[in-house]
């Protein structure tokens, strides 16, 4: 991606909405108008096609925070013209050091709309539609309109949701249903960018173990056998405060409150011979602060947008080609280190591995036996399952009326109910996901 940012003072008319229109994108046009060392001759037709792809691709950016500001800026300056951005948050004064699309006057306003406004002012040819709210407010019809989704989120829950949604949308008869998902993430000096081709490559659910889970220490550990300085702080935070200052609502921005917790934690740490409790650690643990570093955001966002650009233009091999690398890990705390690798798709992934899985069944066994075996399957342990095919309600544990009318099926042989190769779906109130299986008779 050649730099396409023109100094506005020098070339005030080349901002993309003048008559010639392309002056601002001169270098990008040059890049896309010739084959290069990394272009695939079968896939890359230099000229109008890749240039048009950049202009016409509808990109969804999820998150307009530290990463989102960078992503929106990068996409707009790379020539993308149709962008939607979703963010539910409003601007806080502490964002201003790195979320450079926001100014002091914007504090309290929604991030998505302020970011969209700012970028559109600088790059008038780019149309950014903001949505202030949750990604969960939107349905598949909404997500279907995009060509690429770029995420700059700090929430694992939100990532899992969009991942499951995009995986679930893939319809093998509709090429447009497959939406490449590019996910950037940062934590302090570390970050990653990865490309997911839903159902084709390892997905966010497959890669869940790449996120260190927020260490929730059992309460009993905090109360009885602290081993780390953080345990002492959590003890002061969760247990001691409740005991001694119950009537006072803890304000994590009140230095007196943090000092109180720090002192309690420190004396407990001394009691257990644990070193390392500091005031700033106390603040960090209590406020659950993940330090945000502007340059980490910039690097990860650059990589994410680079992948988006390569995917829509085919101008170079992008992350996520099946069998090739799909994950770029960045470590900035000792030099600038990146490691790019292939994270393998997991067969037992509840999201993308949850595409119908083959289940070997004896056609002479009964539905009741199948239902019992579901309770024993390690991945599911479905105690109150509801099972159906496209045509038939096989057995429903609930509601009562369906239980009653489907109960006789439990005694019936599978061959009377299910055809070889037929799909069936199993849900259970205790699980968010629905398991899907394909019958394979033995």
């Amino acid at each position: 991606m050649a730099a396409t940012m023109q100094p506005e003072a020098v070339a005030p008319t080349t901002n993309g909405h003048n008559s010639s229109g392309r002056a601002r994108w001169k270098y990008m046009d040059t890049l896309l108008s010739r084959p290069g060392a990394y272009t695939d001759p079968d896939d890359f037709v230099p000229g109008a096609v890749p240039i048009g792809n950049v202009e016409q691709s509808h990109v969804l950016v999820i998150g307009a925070g530290g990463l989102g500001c960078e992503i929106l800026k990068n996409l707009a300056l790379s020539g993308f013209k149709k962008i939607d951005v979703i963010d539910m948050d409003t601007i806080d004064v502490s964002n201003l050091n790195r979320q450079f699309l926001f100014r002091e006057k914007d504090v309290g306003k929604p991030k998505a709309s302020v970011a969209a406004e700012f970028v559109m002012q600088r790059v008038p040819s780019c149309k950014i539609t903001p949505y202030v709210g949750k990604i969960q407010d939107k349905d598949e019809d909404y997500y279907m309109q995009f060509n690429v989704v770029v995420c700059g989120l700090d929430s694992i829950e939100a990532r899992r949701w969009i991942n499951a949604t995009l995986v679930g949308m893939v319809d093998e008869n509709n090429p447009d249903s497959l939406k490449p998902l590019i996910d950037g993430g940062t934590e302090g000096f570390k970050g990653q960018s990865r490309v997911i081709l839903p159902t084709m490559t390892s997905c966010i659910e497959c890669q869940l173990d790449m996120h260190a889970p927020r260490a929730a220490v059992p309460l009993c550990t905090l109360a009885t056998i602290p081993r780390q300085p953080q345990h002492c702080i959590e003890w002061a935070h969760i247990i001691k405060w409740e005991e001694e200052r119950k009537d006072l609502v803890l304000d994590t921005d009140d230095p007196e409150h943090i000092t109180w917790l720090y002192e309690k934690a420190l004396s407990r740490a001394q009691e257990y011979n644990i070193s390392g409790v500091t005031y700033s650690m106390t603040q960090g643990v209590v406020k659950n602060i993940i330090p945000a570093i502007a340059s980490t955001n910039a690097i990860v966002a650059a990589s994410s947008c680079n992948e988006a650009f390569k995917i829509v233009t085919s101008s170079a091999t992008f992350l996520g080609n099946p069998g090739l690398n799909n994950y770029m890990l960045y470590t900035g705390d000792s030099g600038v280190y990146t490691y790019t690798f292939e994270h393998q798709k997991k067969d037992d992934c509840p999201v993308c591995g949850n595409l119908p899985k083959d289940m070997l069944l004896n056609p002479e066994s009964t539905l009741g036996e199948l239902v019992e075996s579901l309770a024993e399957r390690p991945e599911s342990q479905l105690k109150k399952p509801n099972l159906r095919t496209e045509e038939k309600t096989l057995y429903y544990s609930a509601p009562a009326s369906l239980e009653e009318s489907t109960r006789p099926n439990l005694k019936r042989k599978l061959r009377e109910l299910l055809a070889d190769g037929e799909d069936f779906a199993v849900s259970d109130g205790a699980f968010d996901i629905t398991f899907r299986y394909t019958v394979r008779y033995t």
């Binding site: 695939d40 896939d43 792809n53 691709s57 969960q136 407010d137 349905d139 598949e140 019809d141 060509n147 679930g168 093998e172 090429p175 497959l178 490449p180 081709l197 159902t199 084709m200 995917i311 829509v312 085919s314 080609n321 099946p322 119908p356 109150k384 399952p385 509801n386 159906r388 095919t389 496209e390 045509e391 038939k392 309600t393 429903y396 544990s397 609930a398 509601p399 009562a400 009326s401 369906l402 009318s405 489907t406 055809a419 190769g421 037929e422 799909d423 069936f424 779906a425 849900s427 259970d428 109130g429 629905t434 899907r436 394909t438």
Partner: protein
Amino acid sequence: MLKIWSMKQQQQKSDAASGQTKKKKVTAAQLRVQKDLSELALPGTMKTVFPNPDDILNFTLTLTPDEGLYKGGVFNFTFAITQNFPHEPPKVKCKEKIYHPNIDLEGNVCLNILREDWKPVLNLNAVIVGLQFLFLEPNASDPLNKDAANDLMTDRDRFKRNVRSAMAGGAVKGETFDRVMK
């Protein structure tokens, strides 16, 4: 972009070669309704009836309020769910002709989450709770049956009397209602 799809098709070809036959899949709407049904927590005053147990997209909900003005009545609602669910809300209608400010004489129900406030994140349980609420707290502010709403607003005692006589199969202002008593 095209390249991704051709790669996907290649993957599929190898899947097909490994002997997979494609039969009809459980649809997204069915998956969602099945999940909603597995999470349904019906109190004793409600039950579902599935005329065709294989079709979970069409059923009847029977409501028998045990408190409030409509206590002692039996009210049946048809639920018709399309393949667009949960993008579209279920279509819910009252089978009986009843005297209720938020239900018209055709059985149409005025409940915000069945129309303007429907969101795909809402589930069948939310709709059912909403219906239950209509019988406990009929409200005059968004009426479908203006006469009933007017009665409720101006003379609560008369409204109560009208509810009782309508439930018994009587007439209110010349309009005869279905008998819905248990």
